[in-house]
């Protein structure tokens, strides 16, 4: 049973989170172990299992990023294993590896990291230059803004995915899937930059 199935939902990404919460409480009561106290052990065990699955499902589905990651996982995308897999297939076929991260994103992440490192080094050199603090604050605003914007962009991919599911259009599903993977990859760079700039400002 998938997280979507436990809530009797189709595998789509635009979810009414208020309705999801209500359904969660209703199902929680249904599977509550207390209600099965006088039942046979097998039924008790099943209820406990469902109850735990329900909790996992709710936590994953209410969070936009985790919901997207979970759906991609169901679709066979192994976000954690992308690089290793691509390297192995390139080695096996003797072809040049297709980089998972697009070149322009790598350039961007590299340049942003370089700029941040310069600021951090200047800060380490001694006096807390007010201009430097300003630069770091600006960088923080910039990175955070980019991260927020990527969240909004993700929602537009959800719309495409959901429409493709409704239309049963495999090509469109696959395209939306690729876009979501690329976006989540970009987010992991942005998240690190936000983390690092915050650390530099401390």
């Amino acid at each position: 049973m998938t997280y979507f199935e436990i809530f009797s939902l189709p595998p789509k990404l635009q979810i009414d989170t208020v309705a999801l919460e209500k359904a969660f409480y209703k199902l929680s009561r249904e599977f509550h172990p207390d209600r099965f106290a006088s039942k046979p052990a097998a039924e008790q065990a099943e209820a406990t299992e469902k109850s735990s699955l329900l909790n996992d499902a709710y936590r994953a589905l209410r969070d936009p990023i985790r919901r997207t990651e979970y759906l991609l996982e169901l679709e066979g995308v192994e976000l954690e294993e992308q690089s290793v897999k691509a390297t192995e297939s390139a080695r096996a076929s003797g072809t040049e590896k297709k980089q998972i991260v697009p070149a322009d994103l790598l350039e961007e992440a590299f340049e942003l990291n370089m700029a941040l490192e310069e600021m951090k080094m200047a800060k380490q050199m001694g006096d807390d230059d007010p201009q430097l603090r300003k630069d770091l604050e600006a960088a923080k605003t910039n990175f955070t803004g980019m991260l927020d914007a990527s969240g909004k962009e993700l929602e537009s991919h959800w719309t495409k995915w959901d429409a493709a599911v409704d239309a049963n259009d495999d090509a469109a599903k696959s395209a939306a899937k690729d876009e979501m993977v690329a976006l989540l990859n970009r987010r992991s760079y942005l998240r690190n930059l936000v983390r690092d700039v915050n650390a530099a400002l401390e």
Binding site: S83, K97, L106, E107, A109, N113, R191
Partner: protein, 140 residues
């Protein structure tokens, strides 16, 4: 999780950090990243056009200790090798040398990718075909 002594050594005293002239025809640049953890790694090689020996290598990595150590080690290993020999370096050798735990294997993969990407860039610049360099490597 504890890092091995070799990782700590490369992390604290990274070898060959820096930049080579990207516009030189003797220099190949590889920029790669592991989206799993948001690492980005740049590795550059300077190749002698007559011998195809890698005479210098530099790197700059933004990432965890294992990613820095993997790329630092990669620059040490490619120096003095021919292009064909350098292409034979695999991530498993890096894992072994640095005693990387399973969760850090992707760092070594990144270093292997960076070597390949740098060599690929150098080949493109110099119009070296895949087979041609393999022959040079075999006869060297």
């Amino acid at each position: 999780m504890a890092y091995s002594d070799k990782v700590v050594d490369h992390y604290e005293n990274p070898r060959n950090v820096g930049t080579l002239d990207k516009s030189s025809s003797e220099v190949g640049t590889g920029l790669v990243g592991a989206p799993e953890c948001g690492d980005v790694m740049r590795l550059q090689i300077k190749v002698n056009p007559d011998t195809q020996i890698i005479e210098d290598a530099k790197f700059k990595t933004f990432g965890c200790g294992s990613a820095i150590a993997s790329s630092s080690l990669a620059t040490e290993w490619v120096k003095g090798k021919t292009v064909a020999e350098a292409l034979a370096i695999s991530n498993t050798e890096i894992v072994k040398e640095l005693a990387l735990p399973p969760v850090k294997i992707h760092c070594s993969v990144l270093a292997e990718d960076a070597i390949r990407a740098a060599i690929g860039d150098w080949k493109k610049k110099n119009n070296v075909a895949e087979t041609e360099s393999a022959l040079v490597g075999a006869s060297a």
